[in-house]
């Protein structure tokens, strides 16, 4: 392949622009659990994003939205939740209800 540098630069520019042009690229937002605390406790996301909870504790936790989704988080493991609808959600750990977090999902 004798790709000339100008062409390569053009392609990089073009592909880069294309990536930016996609209006709402889905993101993965990470929340760490360390010593029974969700960090950060508040997250802002949009529909299509995914939350990944990383449990650093040696304890089983959950991320439970009352009357809604629940993600089980075994010790030293992570779990994911795709955000499918907009809204404002409080969540807790079912086993340790003093652990509290909040998710705001924009359309």
């Amino acid at each position: 392949m004798s790709a000339n540098p100008a062409r390569r630069a053009f392609l990089a520019l073009f592909l880069g622009a294309a990536a930016i042009a996609v209006p709402a690229q889905a993101e993965t937002i990470q929340v760490t659990i360390d010593r029974l605390v969700y960090a950060p406790p508040e997250i802002q996301a949009k529909v299509g994003d995914e939350i990944e909870w990383i449990n650093k504790d040696a304890l089983v936790h959950t991320a439970t939205v009352q009357g809604g989704a629940e993600v089980l988080l075994p010790p030293k493991k992570s779990g994911r939740l795709p955000l499918q609808e907009p809204g404002s959600f409080d969540y807790i750990c079912r086993y340790h209800p003093n652990m509290k977090g909040h998710i705001t999902v924009r359309p």
Binding site: R35, L36, A58, L59, H96, P97, N98
Partner: protein, 174 residues
């Protein structure tokens, strides 16, 4: 020289005497480790009794989470005392806790069904509240080693969670 040594010995004896008097109301790290570990063992045994006795899914699940969490914390506590080369030391507080637990276990053993479930869960809420009070006012402030203090602080947060969980299950049973 001999006189000076004797004076030093007397001074040390006085110092130890003073520390000992202090130890009567303020537990030492080896005693704190023993109290915290004992409190965990008591709750694991209570949970095992509940798993064997209860037919209620919520109660059994709660008890299973108590076994899981307290075993995990006690393992961390054992790892820490080993690392610090501290030997947990039995003491009056540990003995009083164990004795009260024995009485409670016998009391619960006479109950079945809903009566058992309610009594177990209510005791769990009360027991964790009592342990949390001791952690906050006595054990954490008395702990000298920073790692031990930190483990106790995490323990407090965990047991506060257990207390809330127990209170939540208790309202479901009503």
């Amino acid at each position: 020289m001999t006189i000076r040594l004797a004076t030093a010995a007397a001074a040390i004896a006085l110092l130890l005497g003073g520390n000992w008097a202090l130890a009567a109301d303020k537990p030492t790290d080896p005693q704190i480790a023993h109290i915290a570990y004992t409190a965990g063992v008591i709750d694991i045994e209570a949970a095992k009794q509940a798993i064997a006795t209860s037919k209620n899914k919520t109660v059994v699940e709660f008890a299973e989470s108590m076994v899981r969490d307290h075993e995990s914390v006690n393992k961390q506590a054992l790892d820490l005392v080993k690392k610090l080369n501290v030997t947990p030391e039995d003491n009056d507080t540990s003995k009083a806790l164990a004795q009260a637990a024995e009485t409670k276990r016998a009391e619960l053993a006479k109950l079945t069904g809903d009566d058992f479930d309610k009594a177990y869960v209510e005791n769990e809420a009360a027991y964790h509240k009592q342990v949390n009070g001791a952690l906050e006012t006595l054990l954490i402030p008395s702990a000298q080693n920073t790692e031990l203090k930190s483990l106790l602080e995490t323990g407090l947060k965990l047991f506060q969670g257990h207390q809330q969980h127990a209170e939540h299950v208790a309202t479901e049973l009503k």
